[in-house]
Symmetry: C2
Subunit: 166 residues, 2 copies
DNA sequence: GCCCGATCATTTGCGCACGAATGATCGCGC
DNA sequence: GCGCGATCATTCGTGCGCAAATGATCGGGC
């Protein structure tokens, strides 16, 4: 049920036991690299997110990225696709797919801008607004659950540090 | 040249300017969520990594995941594919693709285990060991560059916090 | 000896992520 | 008015990431 269980539950293994293990490669250890830790933390966050959303909203298939995009469009009211992509940190190719799926599900609407015929102007539908509203509570729950192992001070610290290396 | 430039250089935009902006959705702001920050930090790390590797090693196409897997195989000496996947936090479907690409490039070798005919035993080739050895220095450089905005204390703190939510 | 649940690896299907290339459009400068 | 560089969106190719289903094999219990 919990996504990704198979990985995390088995991930605590005996450390390297190869003949010379960590000594090789100048003691470089994958597990203590910032990239590895970021990937792991991101994986766990995504798994928790999916769990909270699936359980909270009927929409089991609303991914974190789709939700980010939807929320942004709701808050903007009207945005072009690339603008939206920049605010949620997705390149044009990526945001295109996310928007396409949201439009297909009737959560976003696309319109043509007579002033600039290159752009596609996005706006939320009623269903999109409603879903975003319902989703926020569950999103907050996912955040709480992700940060549960940390004290309030540690949470603030972590967010601040992440913001500085973003 | 720097990967991902288009996103990051444009990402600092005026905040929400929709009619009621942040007030909508109970003041939920995508940018301050842990998931968003993790994704951003991970993006930046990956971009830096690619830059360092491309410049350091001829192998421009050696991704962070491929490198993690390669290093682990070198350190283990011999591992089965799923074992490897668990230590680098990739599920069987994912590690399969990573290994396939590493084998195709002659960095890993696969052997059949006569004791357990289900498994594929992986071991590094000479080229794989050499590449891992050369790569470590550049990987360290990528780590330094990623953490450059932080003091030594902050770096330790960040790594510790990430480890606790992984 | 045989069965049954566990493990190994693969495949399929979907969703990001991004570089690179394309074609339409915009707007500035002349 | 025209031209040319910038911007908008799309497409293609490749590489993760994971759920789910599949088929081979293993091992313990009987």
């Amino acid at each position: 049920m919990a996504p990704n269980q198979s990985i995390r539950s088995l991930a605590e293994l005996p450390a390297d036991q190869g003949s010379d293990a960590g000594c090789l490669l100048d003691g470089y250890t994958v597990e203590s690299q910032i990239g590895f830790l970021l990937r792991r933390a991101y994986q766990r966050q995504t798994a928790i997110w999916q769990g909270c959303m699936a359980e909270g909203i009927g929409e089991k298939e609303l991914t974190p990225r789709q939700f980010s995009a939807l929320v942004k469009v709701v808050q903007f009211g009207r945005v072009t696709q690339n603008q939206l992509g920049r605010t949620v940190a997705m390149d044009p190719a990526t945001i295109q797919g996310v928007v396409r799926r949201l439009v297909a599900r009737g959560l976003l609407a696309r319109a043509l801008d007579p002033m600039d015929r290159r752009t596609a102007v996005l706006s939320p539908t009623e269903a999109g607004i409603a879903l975003a509203r319902r989703g926020v509570a569950h999103a907050r729950r996912a955040t709480r659950q992700t940060l549960a192992p940390l004290s309030a001070d540690d949470r603030r610290m972590l967010l601040a540090l992440l913001a500085r290396i973003s």
